[in-house]
Symmetry: C2
Subunit: 208 residues, 2 copies
């Protein structure tokens, strides 16, 4: 059975939602960030990166949200969540998710995880990073709103693995100092996503 290692308020929610929506049988294991459990020897043996999400499978452990999302979609092909049979459509799905992972999430991470990229003792540099977050995260959502989001779903008429991932990152907007009112299409998508039963169930399980 699949097992999702997660922590609340992280991007593990995206895979959690997709597991719900394809009807997968899966177990959940919460990783306690308050005790730095992600860097415990036990968890490092599961994921040497010391991060969530990770997905235990019968073949081994997977990491990295874009890879995990495509894996779940490919393992449950009936749901057609990644358009894998059309190489260009699948590449567009992957390009969107790769942008979220390597640009939008990275911009966001400079608010809480600046120590990855400067000496943690350099409080001025840490603060300089935090000050830029509203601008850099805002620019990412601007690009999505204007050039990438097709509507009603990210890829157009078809709901895909891009939708739970965008929803997950859009949940962080206010704390990143970005006004959702600037992005009416993304905000409307977020509202519609939040009404889906699988989304409600995943969020309730993580916050329980």
């Amino acid at each position: 059975m699949l097992k999702l290692y997660y922590a609340p308020h992280t991007c593990s929610l995206a895979t959690h939602i997709v597991l719900e929506e394809v009807g997968a049988a899966y177990a959940l294991e919460r990783v306690d960030f308050s005790t730095d459990e992600q860097r415990s020897p036990r968890f490092l043996a599961i994921n040497p990166k010391g991060r969530v999400p990770a997905l235990g499978t019968e073949h081994g452990v997977l990491t990295e949200t874009p890879a995990m999302l495509a894996f779940v979609a490919q393992s449950f092909p009936a749901a057609r969540l990644a358009l894998l049979d059309d190489p260009f459509a699948f590449a567009e799905v992957q390009a969107f998710n790769s942008y979220l992972c390597s640009s939008l999430h990275v911009a966001h991470a400079h608010r809480m995880r600046g120590h990855r990229w400067v000496d943690p003792a350099d409080t001025a540099a840490i603060a300089a990073m935090q000050r830029k977050v509203p601008e850099s995260v805002g620019a990412g959502f601007e690009l999505i709103e204007r050039d990438m989001f097709r509507g009603p779903w990210v890829m157009g008429e078809r709901y895909t693995i891009c939708d739970p991932y965008l929803f997950t990152l859009a949940q962080w907007m206010e704390k990143d100092g970005v006004d959702p009112g600037r992005f009416p299409r993304v905000a409307d998508h977020r509202r519609r996503m939040s009404e889906r039963p699988g989304v409600k169930k995943a969020i309730a399980a993580e916050l329980a």
Copy 2:
């Protein structure tokens, strides 16, 4: 015909090598960073992100290296460069490439592109980021050397789209202040990669 928009010394080299290795018919268009051509109205109409690489296809333009690599592999299935018929193996390929894109490349980018994450006028914060690069890029290669690289190729016996991508980022190690001698397996991989005809041809074309 496929058309690769590239700039020398960027991650566009990874897709360039794969296009060579699958025997694709493709055109090259160099984007001149010295005149900021990537932000020209003409190029922004091709890629609104204002970056390379981008790949023109008969269906439209693709961006993001992990997506482009998987697209080329899926379009030329005979070369079996992405192991797409095995969902777990393909997910491992994707997880590796996603790590390069969202962690290792991002760590590297703090040396030259710190302005993305702090006010460009804040020279102290820009310098603070640059000082951390040897450590953060080094930690990324350490994880690859110790936990991710299987040998002789990234995924083991099978050469995949992970190999040109790792090679491309490993080319930047010295300028990032990281001693390749710390990572004998990655260094040996880089040497073997540099001897492949497709790699030589791609590099020669980019530097011409």
